[in-house]
């Protein structure tokens, strides 16, 4: 993968930002080039392909959660669209500055 994102494991369905990726950044994915519709901060994740609702998110090749909504390739993957398979995540606000949210 090119640019500011890294694929940590070949089985992963998310990429991790190695530095802040500004809105409008073009990212080459297997399905083609997408343009970020929002800035992605360092160490946040985007989907590297379309992911259906209820699918597992894989990072380091390991499951880190389950999608609560369908996620389009290139979209931000975080507390607003995935949940833990164990205990809920407590967040004051997400990276977009949106209101407090507990994904359950």
């Amino acid at each position: 993968m090119t640019g500011p994102f890294i694929l940590l494991h070949p089985n992963d369905n998310v990429l991790v930002a190695r530095k802040l990726a500004p809105e409008g950044t073009n990212v080459e994915l297997a399905s083609g080039t997408i343009t970020l519709t929002q800035a992605i901060p360092l160490a946040h994740k985007i989907a590297c392909r379309d992911i259906a609702e209820g699918e597992r998110i894989l990072k380091y090749g390991m499951p880190i959660g389950i999608t609560t909504h369908a996620i389009a390739a290139g979209a931000h993957v975080h507390v607003h669209n995935i949940r833990s398979a164990y205990t809920p995540t407590y967040a004051l606000q997400d990276a977009n500055g949106q209101s407090a949210e507990v994904s359950s």
Partner: protein
């Protein structure tokens, strides 16, 4: 080549890399007086620790004994109000049995605040001369106990700082050191891969049971071991945080499972089970990072590797803290507080192996007496709260 340095030899045969007098308050009501006694002394020579509660607790009593007889400690002054439940006679006996100078001041019998402070300062001054005469002896890496924790984690922690700490652990264990990783609440989802690394199948069962206990405990509390800042830093779930935290353990075989205050009987890698046993009591297992650091120290840790992404600035009483910054942006913002820049891995400037070697070399130089950033800045945080533990099972430790 085996690295050697000069340790402080204690009567039990253990050796320290620091030689500190601790002033320990035995209830919050004695905290102020104890802090006044410590004020004005050098941060390295005299440090404040204590337990705030007035109600008795076996865990706290045992932790205090372990901390006050830690090889980095040369002498102890207990400061009691007088009417609290803490068993000061038992604590004092544990220290005097270890051949360390010890004194207990009871504020109610010492004339109150000002007189107790004056008496306490006088005792510390005379104890400093005694403590300075402690015998030095050659000490090797195979006599070191090193802990690791992560705090203020973000999405960089699991990619740079934690894998580098894991490499350092592998190197230190290869030279015979005992290394401890912990926070079973942050190993949720890692049970299967972790159990495969256990030295025996029986130990594997104990490791799995410890993580399952953590999962139940946190489910009852309603929160995982997860702070709001973790999410702001890109971590979405406890299992994502766990996988990042787990790699601090490196690749070595897991030799044992210990609980706070249990000292590893020989070199190798140990998991510390920090989640209380029995029904949920007294609240969250460890209310902040320093509670975990204190438990490592009670298990004999000479120093702690602290991996941070968001940017913790803490140090610790008794044992130095080496801060490894996983996030390159945080490193630039808080460089004066960070010992190692693991963020360079994310920027593609250094490899995990290189940073792991740097951490290993820093451990040796801190053992030789070099000060960490938090030591230089005067950080000497300490917290001890209520908990309940059962003793570890027979399969938890390797045979010596």
């Amino acid at each position: 080549m085996k690295q050697q340095f000069q340790g402080y030899l204690r009567a039990d045969g253990r050796k320290g890399i620091r030689n500190t007098i601790v002033v320990a308050y035995l209830v919050e009501c004695a905290h102020f007086v104890a802090s006044k006694i410590v004020a004005g002394f050098d941060d390295n020579d005299v440090q404040l620790i204590g337990f705030p509660g007035c109600f008795p607790n076996e865990y706290a009593a045992r932790m205090m004994e372990r901390l006050c007889t830690h090889p980095n400690v040369g002498g102890v002054l207990f400061v009691s109000l007088g009417c609290e439940s803490f068993d000061k006679v038992r604590a004092s006996k544990a220290v005097s049995d270890s051949n360390r100078p010890v004194e207990t001041l009871v504020i109610q019998r010492s004339g109150g605040t000002a007189k107790t402070v004056a008496t306490g300062k006088g005792w510390v001054r005379s104890a400093l001369t005694k403590v300075a005469q402690v015998e030095r002896a050659p000490m090797g890496v195979d006599e070191l106990i090193i802990g690791t924790i992560c705090g203020g984690s973000d999405g960089t922690s699991g990619i740079s700082g934690n894998p580098a700490a894991g490499k350092a652990f592998d190197l230190l264990i290869g030279e015979g050191a005992a290394c401890i990783f912990e926070e079973t609440g942050e190993l949720i989802s890692c049970e299967d891969i972790m159990v495969e690394r256990a030295a025996t199948p029986e130990l594997g069962k104990e490791l799995r049971a410890a993580v399952e206990k953590a999962e139940r405990y946190y489910a009852t509390l309603g929160y995982g071991s997860f702070a709001a800042g973790n999410a702001a830093g890109g971590l979405s779930t406890i299992e994502e945080k766990s996988l990042g935290a787990y790699v601090k353990s490196g690749d070595s075989q897991i030799m044992g499972l210990i609980k706070p205050g249990d000292v590893p009987p020989k070199g190798g890698l140990y998991l510390m089970d920090v989640v209380p046993d029995g029904e949920v009591r007294f609240g969250f297992p460890n209310i902040s990072d320093n509670a975990e650091i204190v438990e490592m120290i009670a298990s004999g840790a000479h120093m702690t590797l602290f991996v941070t992404g968001r940017g913790s600035v803490v140090g610790s009483a008794i044992s130095p803290v080496i801060k490894i910054c996983a996030n390159p942006d945080t490193y630039r913002a808080l460089e004066d507080d960070m010992d190692v820049n693991a963020g360079a891995i994310i920027e593609g400037l250094r490899s995990i192996e290189e940073v792991g070697q740097e951490i290993h070399d820093l451990v040796i130089s801190v053992a030789k007496g070099a000060q960490t950033k938090s030591e230089i800045l005067g950080h000497r945080e300490f917290i001890l709260t209520y908990k309940t533990f059962e003793p570890i099972g027979p399969s938890c430790l390797p045979t010596v």
